[in-house]
């Protein structure tokens, strides 16, 4: 637990420069390292996406061979899921959860540092696989056998892909234990679970999901590695069962969708009330919906396998469970909309990104419900419809939520604000580019274009939609470049943000920007759901009486 040396003693012996970052166990520094590393992997994954879109811009080979294309889209998917979306949300959680609950650090600071380093090294192992004799894994981020077996993918790149995911899994599991212990045991006096901020709630439920789901993926990859290297036949077509992999893989990877979306929902739940100047509508309904999504998320995995010949009873169960999970998600949607209704909206970049999240995630959620309908799913399985759906959920949802969070909390983390003008320009370019890229993919899917193919015939009528998607992808790249320019420009200008630039509700706004190493000089005592707002109002009414 975070109780060892007194602060003044620590300050004397604290290393400086790069050694300070390598040896740090401070949750804020670790959160920053997670966020920066994840953003670098986002840039790498984005470059891979641009290669994919350049290849598909027109029929015929453009910039790479089919084998290289397989490696590029496999690394793109693995990077975006395991090295960007999940870790950047862990990074924001690391920075903010102790501040939001009024703690000085995470429960296990050294375990927290271990989680970060395992994440970085896992990512480096994945990218080192490009140097493997027969190249990186080209088996998709799903790694389905028999394609991922030693017969069809003899490269050690697949083994390194598996090892990197095992290392990332150890990192995630250690992080989940840390978050659960911190949130359950280290909340400030007076902060009951029903006074805990919604972002922290979302991290708590996500941590339980990681803890329960990740061992399944780790075990599956260990079995795959045994098949590839020790001659076992867990997933062999004869003597084993390739479908077993799909069950094990999706038992992790469908909850992983919620692992990626719940913290983004938590971010939105913090931003909307602040920028609407209203309390969140239905706090307890949002909490229960978060828990319901966390539980139901474990009962929907086989909807990824409708085309594999599941028994009718199983198909009916997974259709029902998939439709059911839309209910708590819909409850949240209504809560967010009612939070904004009648509010005094402050249209700054965090709110724009939050509204972007709501609208894009709504489209992704609706296309997901379409896919829950068995006859539709069988038509669109493995087509570009699925690519459109997952990107509306994970980019339109998670990534818009992540940018909302970065614009909202960067003033707290850095002490200065990102430029609003460039922020709004980035948002609109990103929104337009995103829809130009991914909306046509719905049509391509309905027209029958399969996913993961590196080429298509000119006479199928797919060229225009693909070209539009490629233009859109480059627009997204311009938007992200604007973010980087905005960041550098704002870091140079350093316009002071103040401790509470948005007039926030939660405890992170009660300390300085950036916070001191010990977070709070005295641990605050909490008596409401919006402690900082209530304290601010009391102060204002006190000074007006004076």
């Amino acid at each position: 637990m975070a109780t060892a040396t007194t602060y003044p003693e620590r300050a004397v012996s604290e290393p400086r420069g790069i050694a300070a970052w390598i040896t740090t166990v401070d949750h804020k520094r670790i959160g920053i390292m997670y966020t920066v590393t994840a953003f670098i992997f986002f840039a790498l994954g984005g470059i891979l996406a641009l290669l994919i879109r350049t290849e598909l811009a027109a029929p015929g080979a453009q910039v790479m061979s089919a084998e290289q294309y397989n490696r590029v889209f496999s690394m793109h998917g693995t990077t975006m899921i395991f090295l960007f979306v999940i870790p950047i949300l862990v990074g924001l959680g690391n920075y903010l959860v102790p501040l939001q609950i009024g703690a000085r650090d995470m429960a296990f600071p050294r375990l927290n540092a271990l989680s970060y380093w395992l994440y970085l090294f896992g990512g480096l192992v994945l990218y080192a696989s490009w140097l493997a004799p027969q190249g990186a894994a080209g088996v998709g981020w799903t790694g389905y056998p028999p394609l991922s077996s030693a017969v069809y993918s003899p490269t050690t790149g697949v083994d390194m892909w598996g090892l990197s995911i095992i290392i990332l899994g150890i990192s995630s599991t250690a992080g989940a234990v840390n978050f659960i212990t911190t949130i359950l045991n280290m909340r400030a006096p007076g902060m009951t679970l029903w006074k805990t901020p919604l972002f922290t709630w979302s991290v708590l439920v996500t941590a339980f999901m990681i803890l329960l789901a990740t061992p399944m993926l780790t075990g599956a990859i260990a079995m795959l590695a045994a098949d590839r290297n020790l001659g076992t036949q867990f997933f062999a077509a004869v003597g084993g069962d390739p479908l077993l992999w799909q069950h094990l893989f999706w038992f992790y990877s469908h909850p992983a969708v919620y692992i990626m979306i719940l913290p983004a929902m938590g971010i939105i739940s913090e931003i909307l009330p602040v920028f609407s100047r209203k309390p969140i509508f239905g706090y307890s309904a949002i909490v229960w919906s978060t828990i319901a999504i966390g539980v139901l998320g474990f009962a929907t995995w086989a909807h990824h396998m409708f085309a594999t010949g599941l028994s009718p009873v199983l198909q009916a169960f997974f259709v029902l469970s998939t439709m059911t999970i839309a209910v708590p998600t819909g409850v949240k949607m209504f809560n967010w909309i009612f939070t904004m209704m009648g509010g005094s909206l402050k249209i700054d970049t965090p709110l724009l990104y939050s509204i972007g999240f709501l609208s894009m995630f709504l489209i992704g959620g609706m296309s997901g419900v379409f896919q829950a309908v068995l006859p539709i799913d069988k038509q669109v399985t493995d087509t570009y419809w699925v690519v459109a759906h997952l990107h509306y959920v994970l980019f339109g949802g998670s990534v818009f939520g992540i940018f909302a969070g970065l614009f909202y909390w960067l003033p707290k983390i850095a002490g200065w604000r990102l430029g609003e003008g460039l922020g709004k320009l980035q948002f609109w370019l990103q929104l337009i580019g995103f829809n130009l890229t991914f909306f046509p993919m719905h049509i391509l899917g309905l027209l029958g274009m399969p996913r993961r193919y590196y080429d298509y015939p000119a006479e199928r009528g797919w060229t225009g939609y693909n070209f539009a998607a490629t233009i859109g992808a480059f627009l997204i790249a311009v938007a992200v470049t604007i973010f980087i320019v905005n960041f550098i420009r704002s870091a140079i200008r350093r316009d002071p943000a103040g401790d509470d630039p948005w007039e926030g509700n939660t405890l992170e706004w009660a300390t300085t920007s950036p916070p001191p190493v010990y977070n709070f000089a005295r641990i605050p005592v909490v008596d409401s759901l919006r402690p900082v707002r209530d304290a601010r109002l009391r102060l204002q009414s006190g000074s007006s009486q004076d």
């Binding site: 040396t5 007194t6 620590r10 271990l114």
Partner: protein
Amino acid sequence: MEQPSSEHEEIHLPPPSIAPIMVAGGITFTLVGLLNLSLFFVGLALLAIGVALWAFSRG
């Protein structure tokens, strides 16, 4: 938010440590060492040193 107590509050935080990065490096090299035996032994050595540093560090 109520006013916190004005009594003196001692702040306890753990000191910086090299052990986490060493343990992480040890785990990584040990696992990657399953594909290359020389890395396996480097990983085990790093892991042992990292765990020892972790176990015997104060706080």
